[in-house]
Symmetry: C2
Subunit: 470 residues, 2 copies
């Protein structure tokens, strides 16, 4: 058990050391750890080495651990022998980042971090990974550093687990969990990869949408054709693909794939009432991105559309001639990347099969479809009455001076399901991201306030969790 009187000196230490915290984050942000591109494999290893070395200096037993892909880091800190048993928490983050294209839309090089002013005056850290997830995971590491430096120890036992393949589906990390499940035992998990409700209101995410991500390729003729010679007679795979994808939504924004909504439940009336009170409007949510009309199901609130309802997006499409000027070609094939955000009650395998059946049923006789499965993760609904939640919520409320909310997220963090399935752990999802952080996009940023108060939040949460009933 920690001594509550230790908390204030830890918070003071965080404030005093903040410039150094920022410098350490910048060092990490300069490493080009793009997991998707094999050209950056060495950078991924550098990021892992750097983090393990840094965390070891705090007094953790830290090691870089090989996987079949980019390495993971495991670091442990526990009270040795004496005293009552303490909670044991597993913290998870990831050091890998998304690719940076289109590079020409970045205002400055993505791996040269800077603190600058946002249009509305907020101080922001700009770099690939500034939020997702280097900035977020460093809020936790810096909180540990402050505790260790002020008190010589942490208020609870802790395993820090950092992976390098979150952005590419954790395909090699899940087997790593399985192979090391004895070593990774804990009471529950903490993940710092989510967001706040708004820049002043902290939040704990208690539901996450699942993700089915399919690539579909339509093939017609055995080669590219000249549209002057064959146009009108030969089938065009772009025509087929656009016709199929163009039919996925009806006029009211509902998804037309048979069986898509099977198992989807309406929100409990009390939650719906709470969400209505949050009053998320097109003006606050869509206007900053240049839009004004919610694009989802017309009979649903915007907050439902983005967090509790399943969705479909075409994330990429390509076929034929896409360079400058014109070419009168009928291509041999065309392809699209199509993803579905799932909610509780939807079975990802059934959704994937329903999509494939939908496409196949609409193929003209001459065309073939090939499918590639990029992701297949169910939605997560956490137990709203989980014990650590109350302690974490109180700590967040103390730090931000505003009641922390329990919210649903539209995004997917498949690892949460794997923690439950492989390690038997429930997860508490706390993060300090904002909707305008441009994660996965050019000019990714993290509010300086998110980084600073994020560190302070974790310092408080560690204390609160240590004292919480178990």
């Amino acid at each position: 058990m920690s001594n509550p009187s230790q908390l204030q000196p830890v918070l003071d230490r965080i404030d005093a050391d903040f410039d150094n915290s920022l410098a350490r984050l910048f060092t990490l942000l300069r490493i080009k750890s793009i997991s998707a591109d094999p050209a950056f494999a060495e950078d991924c290893r550098k990021a892992a080495d750097h983090l393990a070395r840094d965390i070891a200096t705090l007094g953790f037993e830290a090691s870089v651990r090989p996987t079949a892909g980019h390495p993971a880091i495991v670091a442990k800190s526990s009270a040795k022998g004496n005293g009552a048993p303490r909670p044991h928490v597993l913290f998870y983050g990831h050091y890998d980042v998304q690719p940076v294209d289109p590079l020409n839309l970045w205002h400055r090089p993505p791996f040269e971090p800077i603190v600058t002013d946002h249009a509305d005056g907020r101080k922001i850290i700009v770099a690939r990974g500034a939020e997702d997830d280097k900035g977020q995971l460093m809020t936790f590491v810096e909180a540990c550093r402050a505790w260790k430096s002020v008190t010589g120890s942490l208020p609870l036992d802790l395993t820090i687990l950092i992976e390098g393949e979150e952005e590419i589906g954790s395909k090699n990390f899940v087997p790593f969990l399985e192979a090391n499940k004895q070593e990774l035992k804990a009471d529950f998990a903490l993940v710092c990869d989510t967001g706040m409700w708004d820049p002043n209101t902290p939040a704990i995410t208690t539901s996450l949408r699942g993700l089915v991500y399919e690539e579909v390729k339509i093939k017609a003729a055995n080669r590219d054709l000249h549209s002057g010679v064959f146009g009108g007679g030969a089938q065009n795979p772009i025509r087929v693909l656009t016709r199929i994808l163009g039919g996925i939504f009806d006029d009211n924004g509902h998804i037309t794939i048979p069986g898509f909504y099977d198992g989807v439940k309406d929100l409990p009336p009390d939650i719906l009432a709470q969400w209505k009170k949050l009053n998320l409007t097109a003006d606050t949510f869509l206007k900053p991105i240049g839009l004004s009309i919610p694009a989802g199901e017309k009979d649903r609130l915007l907050i439902e559309q983005i967090s509790s309802r399943p969705t479909c997006d075409v994330n990429g499409i390509v076929g034929g001639y896409t360079g400058e000027g014109s070419k009168t070609v009928i291509p041999a094939e065309a392809s699209a990347k199509v993803s579905f955000r799932l909610v509780e009650g939807q079975d990802p395998v059934k959704i994937r099969n329903a999509f494939r059946a939908y496409v196949t049923a609409r193929l003209p006789g001459d065309c073939k479809a090939e499918f590639l499965d990029h992701s297949n993760a169910p939605a997560i609904a956490l137990d709203w009455n989980m014990k650590p939640l109350a302690a974490a919520k109180r700590a967040l409320t103390d730090e931000w001076g505003k009641e922390a909310l329990l919210i649903g997220s539209g995004a997917s963090i498949p690892i949460v399901a794997d923690f439950k399935k492989t390690l038997g752990l429930d997860t508490v999802l706390i993060g300090f991201g904002l909707d305008d952080d441009n994660i996965h996009s050019p000019n990714e940023k993290y509010d300086l306030k998110s980084f600073h108060k994020g560190i302070r939040s974790w310092a408080r949460i560690l204390a609160a969790l240590a004292e919480a009933p178990r």
Copy 2:
């Protein structure tokens, strides 16, 4: 007037000199005269210089002529002073070629020509431009060379006009015609840029479809978005684009754009009867390209679908993430290249505007569409009773031992309209291409037989035209 007895020695000379003709074609094919890409501007100039020099050696007054883009070539050969007035013919071809991407689908480098065996045993010349249009234009040049070398002259007066921007819309060549119309006066024009009916049946093309080629870009949010955060709430321009393009065809293959078929006439019953007898089937036309079901209007013959009916093809589409793997992005924009083949009676400007109106009417409130006009050319219907046709038809029939057909082509050769409008010339379209030549595609080829008998055909046509009633 030429002496008919001169023809046989000319044909013999063509046969004897054929290896050299092929070597000269290869020299031209090695020049990377891709007009679309500014990086190859110097190669375009090289091709023009080379051709002008070569044609000058035949005794033409030949010059390379600057335009606002790639240069043109004008070469003249006429009897000086003595004898009765002879027909004066303007021959047209182009030395520029299409880009070569996707390069990885070529079996060998596109600018290293080779004679090889087609799967079915035909000898073929493989290279970018082997058919379109270097191979075709050289059939004519080599026929002139044989006439000059055997008889010292040509049987008629001739202007050879070769341009370097056919593949990019002849934007700078049309003003060149206008500026030089006195110099380019002739009785009629010959163009060698079309095809045969089949590998054994020669043809004269008497109608050409027009071409409207539009690029449309749909814009939604002001930046790329994360589909986890915004999916369901934010409009996705790929969804909008696929929905709009996917609605262009109805279930029977008709184009749904209001007004699209305005002015389109049915074929005269006698022509339709002739075409029916040609018995163009899916088995002969589509099977070689791996297809089996005509994709056009279900109530039309396949031969109508590809030559006398207007069509639409999406020639390219791109949006969002198209690399390896997955990225959960909602892109800010998506775009497509959409072309329409037009027939007699359709106004290209009206079609363009109808397409733009169709797209605009289907835009959700939050989206914008931007349009770019790549081509805007009407269909051409030549006079079936034009005098030189009969002579040319007879010459072709003599060479191939099979009645030459008068056919419609699905492709567009906009320069034919410009010859009529600017120079007042009717055009006779004769060429030796085949449907499986892969023009505009990887592994473009020209049958060795097309090249050889093409040269012989032109030698006969020149003689026949000289003797034809005027």
